[in-house]
């Protein structure tokens, strides 16, 4: 159980990072490190049981339908890797408190802590699916950590993502095959399944997939590219990534799958050869680097190669060596990385060609680095020596003919010469030689190293020294890890510094001897190597591979990627005309259609047709916007006539009211647009006409061929005869809307609400000066007519130049009609169930009141309180949904109407639903009038859009993409601070504390100050 608590504590750290970074800034690392230690302490009982030889397991159902379980299991491997992740993590977090620049650093802590969570989940997972998920999480976390370092990390993080996700895909394939072949998602059961012994081909395939995944994560050749790239990240990130997390995940995966694959020849051969090759290549590249951090990155590549080779050998001894070297590497590499951070901090550079002689200036750092480098180079008495010796012994055991072992040992030894050389380079070039001494003038002192920086960098390195002397304490953990990786053996590891004289010791001595020669001749050897001998680097290779794909994608996107709507619409229209027109014509010509009903037409249809034809002609031909709008309204009237003639009073009323409101809104918009349409069409005028005629013909043919050829439908009879009995309402259309098909109506309502919200959202992404450009830049602006009939102040002058006089008749009309309209609206709403009316029609009539009030005002002003429209929309949708839920609770079906008599009155919950409809429609219309109508009076469009969310403001907000007022105020205050700092830096005297400085929060926003946001940064204000 306590394993879960460990994970829970890690998850808690993720959540805690938000408030901690907010209150403590970069010092959030301290409590987070403490949380890590708590997690480790919680893990302690599990670890001690594992050390006693047990395995601890825990599981709970996850997705019962799929038989998935969330299962965790702690064995030796899990314990070792959990300990590394948590303890190194705690050290890195403590180090970060001094390393990071002051500030919140939320993303750093959040991603790093999330990373640890994923890593602990990965190593404790006992379920293949869970394993895969955690694996991908670590990939994502490393991507985010690299990407957060800004522009320099962008390309690097993308390469990391690409490579680690390739590994994710291979692991997914492997997991999929394993689950399919064994029929279980349990990790241990799958590994122990007999199918692997029966089908060696399958086993080999999965082994290759798994090792590819591990290679991408552990940066083995040729996937090593991303790791040096990851240097773009902050140093603590690198330290953690390299020592404890991502790259160790690959090693972990190999060990986890060792029980299954350790005797698969492909596994052995590939891991040993690729591992040693990577070890040598990494060492060589490391020697070439002058940037200490890059050098360190390649050294990780090289060290991991050695571990991979040891795992590849697959014997008990080899795995013990691999586990031990993993521990040793975690210690010295995290420490060395942080030491590079220390050097960087005090000198401002990591390039060995620029560093002064640091040995005397920073003796403690120097000696710590010497110890770390000695461990890496494998010099006694460091832990790295013990583990490297062990790996050499292990390489001798490489499976295959006798010579393979010796070949592996020689290969490992040669690679280790390189390791020795670059370790020496760190120490000598970093601290002793001072190649950049002459660039350092005497009066440029080093930055003092904060204690936390030095202490926590040294801690892991120094831990390696006593551990080596009492290396026996690691016997048990290593044993347990080995027995987890090789379940059938009973390992008995005896770690010691001194093993007597054997081949490995000879190898080590030879390495040291050669290394000393290199050190002696370093002044000529090292700079010679630093020339870029390798033109082809990984980033280039990836770019070469990706570029053609990206180009092909661009080409493909060109087909559909136009702002131009014609490009999107015309192919659809052509296809529609062909299919519909051709199909209908075919049906008519072949005579396969039923006879048309004889009684389809009425004379009223002709009236409607004439009006429609005239209206459409006017709309399409007119170049004047006003004339086109009036013609469009004529079409609407024609349609209304047609609908009434078809026997739809509800539909006809809706159409009429919607038409009126639409035309009003178009009029509002037209006052901000040019008087006439532009001339040039998108498609050639003739092509547009041709396409229009073809599509029109196709639609006409389709309507003629496919309708009116059957009797009235059965569903119509059902609604007409049964509807009134079921619903107690005689207006069948209304009962369909609010009862039979209320879900449709709810959907429609949501569309209405979304349209209102979307208008506000879109308009508040454009700044005021672009939304309503000032007159100088507004090409649509038409100056007031200058008619000098009578002098100023005369009635004629007022009639032309002032609005209020013209609004008086309208205001009188509103006084009379508004109450009447409200009453009619209520009646229509109430009677909707039995007679033409209902929520929609009543709401549209109510909206007409809004429209009248808006239009009758002499000044341009919003109708109603600023936030009312959004409240109406939200409330309406909410009311409709709640009514639906009431139905669910009371009748077991969403939106089922609940009805009954209250006295003589028959009431139904459908009425409440209709009320929701009413509110939402009214809200949308109010919002639309307020937003579209704002015509440069006191308030402009942007201010209205902001106010409909924020309430009354003194002016438009100067933000884009939904910044909240709090964020805006914070940003502006930060800008002001920056400006202030700049003036101070320029030598201006420190004035009194400016108003409003200090902590920024809800209380300092303009909402309480009553200061418009755009003026907040203006300090000249009193």
């Amino acid at each position: 159980m306590s394993m879960v608590w460990t994970l829970a504590v890690c998850a808690l750290a993720v959540l805690a990072s938000f408030p901690l970074t907010r209150t403590l800034g970069r010092h959030a690392g301290w409590p987070l490190a403490a949380i890590y230690l708590v997690a480790a302490a919680v893990f302690w009982p599990v670890a001690s049981r594992v050390m006693a030889g047990e395995t601890v397991a825990w599981s709970t159902p996850w997705v019962p339908d799929l038989g998935l379980e969330l299962s965790l299991r702690a064995d030796g491997i899990g314990v070792v890797f959990t300990a590394i992740a948590l303890l190194i993590g705690a050290v890195v977090l403590s180090y970060s408190t001094a390393y990071l620049s002051p500030g919140r650093n939320l993303t750093f802590y959040l991603y790093l802590v999330g990373f640890t969570f994923a890593m602990v989940g990965l190593v404790l997972a006992d379920d293949l699916i869970l394993l895969f998920l955690c694996w991908e999480l670590t990939s994502l976390a490393s991507f985010l950590l690299i990407a957060r370092s800004g522009y320099s990390g962008e390309a690097a993080s993308m390469r990391t993502l690409l490579i680690t996700f390739i590994g994710g895909l291979t692991l997914l394939a492997a997991v999929g095959i394993m689950v399919a072949a064994t029929g279980t998602t349990g990790l241990q059961e799958a590994l122990a399944h007999p199918v692997w012994a029966q089908r060696p081909g399958l086993t080999t395939g999965v082994a290759v997939l798994v090792l590819l995944s591990a290679f991408t994560k552990s940066a083995q050749f040729p996937f090593h590219v991303w790791l040096p790239d990851a240097m773009a990240a902050a140093t603590p990130v690198s330290a953690y990534l390299h020592a404890a997390a991502v790259v160790k995940a690959g090693i972990f995966l190999l060990m986890r799958f060792s029980p299954l694959f350790h005797d698969v020849p492909v596994w052995n051969a590939t891991l040993v050869t690729v591992g040693l090759l990577t070890c040598a290549l990494g060492g060589f590249f490391a020697l070439q680097k002058t940037d200490l951090k890059k050098l360190m990155a390649y050294s990780t590549v090289s060290q991991l190669g050695l571990i991979v080779a040891a795992i590849g050998v697959g014997t008990e001894y080899a795995l013990a060596a691999a586990v031990l070297h993993t521990i040793a590497h975690a210690l010295f590499k995290s420490g060395l990385f942080m030491m590079v951070g220390v050097i960087d901090h005090s000198t401002g550079t990591r390039d060995v060609r620029r560093l002064p002689e640091l040995r005397r200036a920073m003796p403690l750092a120097f000696w710590t680095t010497v110890l770390g480098a000695a461990s890496m180079a494998g010099i006694p008495p460091m832990l790295g020596f013990v583990s490297k010796e062990k790996i050499f012994t292990a390489l001798l055991e490489a499976p295959g003919p006798a010579w393979t072992g010796w070949a592996a040992l020689v290969g490992g030894a040669l690679a280790s010469v390189l390791t020795f050389a670059y370790s020496a380079k760190i120490v000598f070039h970093g601290f002793v030689d001072g190649r950049g001494q002459d660039r350092w003038p005497e009066d440029a002192p080093l930055h003092a190293t904060p204690p936390a920086l030095g202490i926590f960098a040294a801690l892991p390195i120094l831990a390696g020294l006593p551990l080596a002397l009492v290396v026996g304490v690691l016997d048990t953990p290593v044993d347990r890890a080995v027995s987890a990786a090789l379940p059938h053996v009973e390992p008995e590891t005896h770690l010691a510094l001194w093993h007597g004289v054997n081949a490995e010791l000879v190898a080590t001595l030879l390495i040291i001897a050669v290394g000393l020669v290199v050190i002696a001749r370093r002044r000529t050897v090292m700079p010679a190597l630093e020339k870029e001998t390798f033109r082809l680097d990984g980033a280039g290779v990836i770019a070469t591979l990706v570029a053609p794909v990206a180009r092909a994608g661009m080409q493909l996107a060109l087909l559909v990627r136009a702002d131009n709507p014609t490009r999107h619409v015309s192919p659809v229209l052509v296809a529609l005309a062909l299919v519909l027109g051709g199909g209908s014509a075919g049906l008519l010509l072949t005579g396969s259609l039923a006879e048309q009903h004889p009684d389809l037409d009425r004379w009223t249809d002709v009236v409607a047709l004439v009006v429609i034809v005239l209206g459409v002609a006017g709309t399409t031909i007119s170049q004047s916007r006003l004339a086109a709008t009036v013609s469009l309204s004529a079409v609407g009237v024609g349609i209304t006539v047609q609908i009434f003639s078809l026997g739809g009073p509800d539909v006809g009323l809706t159409q009429l009211l919607v038409e009126a409101l639409t035309i009003l809104m178009i009029m509002l918009v037209l006052q901000k647009l040019p008087l006439r349409f532009g001339r040039s069409p998108r498609l050639g005028q003739k092509a547009a006409m041709g396409l229009a005629l073809a599509t029109g013909l196709a639609f006409g043919l389709g309507a003629f061929a496919l309708t009116g050829r059957r009797e009235r439908s059965e569903i119509a009879d059902y609604y007409l005869t049964e509807g009134p009995e079921i619903t107690h309402g005689y207006n069948v259309v209304n009962t369909i809307l609010v009862e039979f098909r209320a879900l449709d109506t709810l959907g429609e309502l949501t569309v209405l609400g979304m349209a209102g919200a979307a208008m506000v959202a879109i308009l508040s992404t454009v700044r005021d000066r672009y939304l309503d450009p000032p007159r100088e830049t507004d090409r649509s602006w038409v100056p007031d007519p200058d008619i000098a009939l009578r002098p100023r102040g005369s009635a004629a002058d007022r009639a032309i130049h002032q609005a209020w006089g013209n609004a008086v008749p309208m205001q009188l009309l509103v006084r009379l009609t508004a109450p009447l309209l409200v009453i009619i609206s209520v009646i229509l709403f109430w009677r909707g169930h039995n007679a033409p009316g209902g929520g929609f029609i009543a709401a549209l009539l109510g909206s007409a009141v809004v429209a009248l009030v808006y239009l009758s005002s002499a000044r341009d002003q919003a109708v109603g309180p600023a936030r009312l429209p959004m409240v109406l929309i939200g409330g309406g949708v909410a009311l409709a949904i709640l009514t639906g839920l009431w139905g669910t609770v009371a009748k077991g079906s969403f939106l089922a109407p609940i009805s009954g008599y209250v006295g003589d009155l028959y009431l139904t919950s459908a009425l409440l639903f209709d009320l929701g409809v009413y509110a939402a429609v009214l809200g949308l219309v109010m919002e639309a009038f307020n937003l579209l109508g704002a015509a440069g009076g006191r308030e402009r469009t942007r201010e209205r859009a902001d106010e409909s969310v924020e309430g009354e403001l003194a002016g438009p907000m100067d933000t884009t993409r939904g910044e909240t007022p709090e964020e805006l105020a914070e940003r502006e205050l930060a800008d002001r601070e920056k400006a202030l700092a700049a003036t101070r830096a320029a030598g201006a005297p420190d004035g009194p504390d400016p108003k409003g400085r200090g902590r920024v929060g809800r209380r300092t926003t303009y909402l309480t100050h009553g200061v418009p946001p755009r003026n907040l940064g203006d300090r000249s204000e009193p």
Binding site: D717, V732, A928, L931
Partner: protein, 110 residues
């Protein structure tokens, strides 16, 4: 036979306007097209029955199919909402040309 002609006229005008540069004309085109779609839906109820679907006043045998009516009513209101939204888009920057976007201060170098 007559209503299909109306539909053809509406679609012709609608498609023509849809292919123009001005956003407002495109909105007008969509309005005409939605009229055409609504009439087509109404025709699905067979125009031989034209009585109002109010069973307490009109003989059920002569009443029109109420289901297309409900659909069209919904469609009209949705078309209204879409038109309003598109009008809001058309008026940004006081310029409704779909070929030359008005400046919004957010142009990125591409």
């Amino acid at each position: 036979m007559i209503i299909p002609v109306s539909i053809a006229v509406l679609v012709t005008g609608g498609v023509y306007l849809l292919l123009q540069r001005s956003m407002v004309r495109i909105i007008f085109g969509l309005a005409l097209l939605s009229h055409a779609a609504n009439l087509t839906l109404m025709l699905a109820g067979v125009s031989a029955w034209r009585g109002e679907p109010l069973p307490d006043r009109v003989d059920t045998a002569a009443a029109a199919d109420p289901l297309p009516h409900a659909f069209v009513l919904t469609a009209i209101v949705i078309a209204f909402a879409v038109t309003v939204l598109m009008l809001a888009l058309a008026v940004i920057g006081h310029n409704d040309d779909t070929k030359r976007m008005p400046p919004t201060g957010e142009e990125r170098a591409t």
